[in-house]
């Protein structure tokens, strides 16, 4: 006899819908995934807890190899810079560096992290709006590739190079309207109004700076290939004109990233398979345009252009899964079904704009219905998914949310909940390792200092005793933070 307790569903009245197929022929979810690359989901949960981020090493390697070969088969000189902000877990970065990726960083922290990972400075592309004097100086001395974003940064860099008497090659970031994507005019120098040309002159007239690269980033999740064609044309035209005007020699063009992953944008009418171009399609249009636009360079005695790509999302998004468990079931007052799961927008920031693929981990029982998935936060906006067709689930049942590799870990918040463990499924089967431990109380409080007069005499926590001992002489409250609010 089957001893398993049957699922009890609260009696309810539900309007019948004729037929269960929608126009995409998606019926009731029947399929489920109870293992990730051969590891049982339940085993993973029992060992590492829930929620749990799971990285697939093989998928990540496969993605980056595919991207690099898609470009390298179409253009000889290609550099791929891993965009640290997308996901700077050390394991992720090192897998990509092992596959030959450089590092694309946008802040002091990211620069320092890349150096800590062992990336040679000359393999770091230093972008971003906020490069302070300290880190800029380090980047100059170590020989990183600096991409100028604004005029003030130029003056700062100019003064640093004058102090250090070091000649450096720089790239400048451009912004322009491709006609097919939203112009991001807040980054870099505008091409249309002459700001960029002006900047090229300024660099040409500076003592130690030499303009050798152009960079632009036309957007994120760009679905229209024509945008890249236009981008490449505009950048090459600009390159030809500044080479003519200022006698500089450009040797690399950085086209940023923005390639779409196979996630589904909220409000998107078609499925990702139908709208998101394949990596090869991006590569084809970009490389073709570049080859056509630069075909006379060798004859003109100019260096061949190195193409730099900084795609982040398309590489890492589908290499991560998030395993989450059902905390409670709730029927909303309008009759809709809803679930509360233990992963919310604190660790799944991208659920604000994506409809991630969500999979069951057990065979579905009962009738599927439109369900809202809420996260565990005490916030109204903590909605993981507004509409998904799910069968009734028990408390403790788990779900797999896929394509969560980009931005979620780096943008996760230390809000209300402890952040979860991150594990990696090794390429060699059956090997799993913890690559980031989840937060605990110590992590949450270790940067805090408690002024003496705020101490509670019978503090029970040993860690806070340590804290007091260590910093008993500190009188200034460096970080104001409330330890607990009950």
């Amino acid at each position: 006899m089957n001893n398993e307790k049957k699922l009890w569903l609260k009696p309810m009245i539900k309007a019948h819908k004729l037929g269960v197929l929608n126009k995409f022929a998606y019926g009731t979810k029947k399929e489920f995934i109870n293992d990730l690359e051969g590891r049982e989901v339940n085993d993973l949960i029992s060992e590492y807890g829930s929620p749990l981020f799971v990285l697939s090493e093989s998928k990540l390697r496969q993605n980056v190899k595919r991207l690099m070969s898609a470009f390298k088969m179409r253009y000889p000189k290609v550099i791929y810079g891993w965009s640290y902000k997308t996901n700077y877990l050390s394991s992720v970065c090192n897998i990509l560096h092992q596959e030959g990726a450089w590092a694309e960083v946008v802040s002091q922290f990211e620069y320092e992290k890349a150096r800590q990972q062992g990336v040679p400075a000359e393999h770091i592309l230093f972008n971003g709006l906020n490069k302070n004097i300290e880190i800029l100086k380090r980047a100059v001395l170590e020989g990183a590739r600096i991409h100028l974003d604004n005029l003030d940064e130029f003056y700062l860099l100019d003064s640093i190079t004058k102090d250090t008497k070091k000649n450096i090659k720089v790239a400048m970031r451009l912004n322009f309207d491709t006609g097919f994507s939203e112009p991001w005019s807040r980054f870099g120098f505008n091409v249309e109004n002459g700001q960029a040309l002006d900047m090229a002159y300024k660099i040409a007239n500076s003592d130690y700076l030499e303009l050798s690269g152009l960079h632009s980033h036309i957007g994120t999740f760009v679905l229209d290939l024509r945008a890249y064609e236009a981008q490449m044309k505009i950048m090459c035209d600009f390159m030809h004109s500044i080479e003519y005007e200022t006698d500089c020699v450009i040797d690399c063009i950085d086209i940023g990233g923005g390639f779409a992953s196979k996630n589904s944008l909220q409000g998107s009418y078609l499925t990702p398979d139908q709208v998101s171009p394949e990596i090869e399609q991006y590569a084809q249009i970009i490389c073709d345009t570049l080859i056509n636009e630069t075909k006379n360079r060798i004859a003109q005695g100019k260096p061949e252009i190195t193409l730099i790509i900084e795609s982040g999302r398309a590489i890492v998004d589908d290499a991560f899964h998030l395993i989450t468990s059902v905390v409670s079931n709730k029927r909303l007052k309008d009759g809709r079904a809803s679930l509360v799961v233990d992963a919310g927008v604190n660790i799944l920031f991208t659920s604000f704009w994506y409809n991630h693929p969500i999979s069951l981990t057990n065979s579905p029982r009962g009738v599927s219905e439109d369900t809202i998935i809420y996260g565990p936060l005490c916030m109204n906006i903590d909605v993981v998914r507004t509409h998904v067709n799910l069968p009734p689930l028990k408390i403790g049942d788990s779900l797999i949310i896929s394509h969560v590799g980009a931005y979620n870990l780096t943008q996760s918040m230390q809000f209300i909940e402890y952040r979860p463990n991150v594990v990696m499924l090794h390429e060699e089967k059956s090997k799993v390792s913890l690559i980031k431990k989840g937060d605990d109380l110590h992590d949450m409080t270790r940067n805090e200092y408690l002024p003496e007069h705020l101490m509670i005499n019978n503090a029970s926590s040993t860690s806070s005793v340590d804290l007091i001992k260590d910093h008993s002489n500190i009188s200034i409250l460096k970080q104001s933070s409330v330890v607990s609010f009950v």
């Binding site: 390298k72 088969m73 253009y75 490389c287």
Partner: protein, 748 residues
């Protein structure tokens, strides 16, 4: 486009050509040897008669002529007058002092027949001057004709002329007594051989012959071997046909077999089994010609001289030159050397640059593709189209995604096809449609194609391109890596692929020629690890990827005037400071030189630095450098590669050296496997070198070199069972020049 290919072989050939051009014109070498003492040049001329070209051997030969002083003085006088004549009228100084040696031979030949007096003197002087003029003229004519060496042809013409003239001059009737064979020296057979040897210098005396033979063996054991074998073959045949030993004729003409065997088997071809056989055939032919020419000449009462040798050698060489395809024996008309040197050069060249005659090409694609059909492939690569390669892109053992029913499903469809060479677009056609997968168009077999003419005159065909994808025009000069078209599926092509072959003429579908891929990474289908190959003919299912130059190139770069001081420790003894210097010689050859005049040449090309031509002077540090850093590919992603450096670099005990020489009379190569690993400071380049000393004995040494990005090599290490040598960089400095101060960089 980056020049991703470099053509080591073509470069070496070009250099050799250039040098021989200079030699021919007397430029360069004239200046080089201007500082040689005239007597030294005369000694070299003596040695050149037996292809040895060094003054010590020349001195031995010179001494040998004094067995018969009349001839010796006449010869010496001839040499001096020849040398003076060429100086006086500023004739180009031929390589090997050709004109001196020809007039020297005239002198010797007259000196052996006529008594040395004032009458003879006038004839001699005129003869010598004439022989210089004939040499200068003929050597140029021969070179233009077939790049043939003039050898002693001028001597034969002048000597015959003089002999006829002498018959008409009564004043020259002071004939010497015919030389009686020296009675008994060692034994009859050996005496006969040594006499033949001596008669090269017109001294038919076994004592002189012995001295000469010693000189030859000292310079080159292989030449000595050829001399003996050539003599035995020629002599036996002669005796067999004539029925009786014909001492008189032998006395004067036996050297013809010897010289023919030496020239054909060791000097003008690369030593090997085929060239040895040919040398022996040459010796037999020379013996036939000796008899026939003798029969003709006897009517006029003149000797055969070196005519059989000249006719046989020149005929054989010219005939070899007429071959359409390259095969053994390989001719070395442009830069003949001693057989050992010839062998070493050709061994290294074929180890690094592929088979002789094979045309080096780069890959016609970017990144990594797989060989769909190799040479002599089972589908269509059969005679006369057997030398062809087809490439496709494969992922997970499939060439397409989805169901493969659309052309667009194929990974390689529409990918760029790039130029595999420098050349000119000869003609093209891109008007044919692309077949659906599985279909073929046999009317237009090659489909859309691009025919490129190489600078060597050969043609490269790239076929089955995508309709309308060709981006170049006829007559356009193209460079390796330049995008030419897109991969398609036109013509006889059931799935999209690139077909590449080399053909001799411009007609579509004409006979294909052998070629190889140059400087690529290749992983063999049966072996997962990727290895860098300077030259490779990949077989079916091998994965080939192109190499781009990397920042490591600047690490290896050795600029002119650089010197590096190393602290060298041998087996934990006291460290000794030693220096390596980079020099550039007059002919434009970069050299790395150590102590005692030791040096090795090197070339730096896009993608590679390679050392070769180590001279004989001893220097341990230089040897370790050459073992550890003898061949350095500077492309990215190059991790493993092989080389076969000269065995002389290997540290061997005296006993092992002897054993090795016994089993490898011509020298040989070390099997070196290299590996480069990225380390904190830069790179670690490890080499494992194995030398087969005898069929049963093998030795292995390990070398390690640490390279830092900006400094270059900072430490070298070599260890074997019994020896461990370590060298650490102390300082680098660049030589000062007028206006440029010396720069010194202390390491650590």
């Amino acid at each position: 486009m980056d020049k991703i290919i470099f053509d080591y072989k073509a470069d070496v050939l070009k250099k050799i050509k250039q040098i021989s051009q200079w030699k021919k014109q007397g430029v360069g070498l004239y200046q080089l040897s201007a500082d040689l003492l005239p007597f030294k040049r005369i000694l070299i001329a003596y040695s050149t008669i037996l292809f040895c070209r060094n003054e010590k051997t020349g001195f031995l030969f010179f001494m040998a002529t004094f067995v018969f002083p009349n001839a010796a003085f006449s010869g010496l006088l001839a040499a001096i007058i020849g040398s003076l004549t060429s100086r006086l009228f500023n004739f180009p100084n031929q390589s090997g002092e050709l004109h001196i040696y020809n007039s020297l031979l005239v002198g010797l030949s007259l000196g052996i027949v006529y008594h040395f007096d004032f009458h003879l003197l006038s004839l001699i002087v005129l003869g010598f001057i004439l022989s210089v003029l004939v040499t200068v003229t003929l050597s140029d004519v021969f070179w233009r004709l077939e790049h043939l060496p003039v050898l002693s042809f001028p001597f034969v013409i002048v000597a015959l002329g003089c002999a006829f003239a002498a018959q008409g001059y009564g004043s020259l009737s002071h004939y010497l007594y015919p030389l009686a064979p020296y009675d008994y020296f060692i034994n009859t057979e050996i005496d006969a051989f040594l006499t033949a040897m001596g008669s090269t210098f017109f001294i038919p005396d076994p004592r002189a012959g012995l001295l000469i033979f010693i000189g030859v063996v000292m310079t080159s054991r292989y030449l000595g071997l050829l001399a003996v074998c050539g003599y035995i073959v020629g002599h036996s045949l002669f005796q067999w046909l004539s029925g009786s030993p014909h001492n008189d004729l032998f006395l004067w003409s036996g050297f013809n077999f010897i010289l023919t065997a030496m020239a054909i088997g060791g000097v003008f071809t690369v030593p090997g089994i085929r060239s040895f056989v040919l040398a022996m055939i040459g010796a037999s032919l020379a013996s036939l010609l000796t008899a026939s020419i003798q029969s003709m000449m006897i009517i006029y009462g003149v000797p055969v001289l070196a005519l059989p040798f000249l006719l046989t050698t020149l005929t054989v060489l010219m005939a070899l030159k007429k071959r359409q395809s390259f095969s053994a024996p390989y001719l070395l008309l442009e830069n003949p050397e001693l057989p050992e040197v010839n062998y070493e050069n050709s061994r290294l060249l074929s180890a690094r640059g592929g088979a002789p005659g094979s045309i080096p090409l780069s890959v016609p694609f970017l990144d990594k593709w797989q060989v769909y059909q190799g040479f002599c492939g089972k589908y269509t690569h059969q005679y006369p189209w057997q030398y062809a390669l087809d490439f496709i892109v494969v992922d997970n053992e499939r060439s397409f995604s989805n169901d493969g029913k659309q052309l667009g499903d194929y990974y390689c469809y529409g990918l760029p096809v790039v130029s595999p060479c420098y050349g000119t677009v000869y003609k093209f056609d891109d008007s044919h449609h692309d077949n659906l997968p599985g279909e073929v168009d046999i009317k237009n077999n090659w489909g859309n194609y691009l025919l490129i003419q190489l600078n060597s005159g050969h043609f490269v065909l790239l076929a089955h391109l995508k309709k309308g994808s060709i981006k170049v025009f006829s007559g356009e000069h193209i460079v390796p890596g330049q995008v030419l078209a897109q991969c398609g599926n036109s013509g006889r092509s059931p799935q999209p692929h690139i077909h590449m072959h080399v053909q001799a003429d411009q007609y579509l579908g004409s006979r294909t020629l052998p070629f190889h891929l140059f400087g690529v990474n290749c992983s063999k289908s049966d072996n997962r690890s990727t290895q860098f190959y300077l030259s490779i003919i990949p077989s079916e299912k091998d994965t080939v990827s192109m190499i781009l130059n990397d920042s490591i190139a600047q690490t290896f770069h050795l600029p002119i005037g650089l010197s590096m001081n190393f602290n060298v420790t041998i087996n934990d003894q006291q460290a000794i400071e030693q220096q390596l210097k980079v020099e550039l010689d007059l002919l434009g050859q970069f050299k790395l030189s150590g102590k005692n005049g030791s040096c090795a040449s090197f070339v730096e090309e896009t993608g590679l630095q390679a050392f070769f031509d180590r001279n004989k002077k001893e220097d341990k540090l230089l040897d370790i450098w050459l073992l550890a850093l003898g061949l350095n590919p500077t492309g990215n992603e190059v991790v493993n590669w092989q080389d076969k450096p000269a065995a002389s670099l290997f540290p061997l005990s005296v006993k092992d050296k002897f054993l090795f020489n016994v089993f490898h009379p011509l020298g040989g190569g070390i099997e070196s496997q290299y590996r480069r690993i990225k380390i904190d400071r830069g790179w670690l380049q490890q080499g494992k070198h194995t030398l087969q000393i005898s069929p049963t004995k093998k030795k292995t040494v390990i070398t390690e070199a640490v390279l830092e990005l900006k400094t270059g090599c900072v430490s070298l290490l070599m260890h074997a069972d019994d020896v461990r040598i370590e060298a650490k960089l102390i300082q680098k400095h660049s030589k000062a020049d007028f206006g440029i101060p010396e720069l010194v960089y202390h390491y650590q």
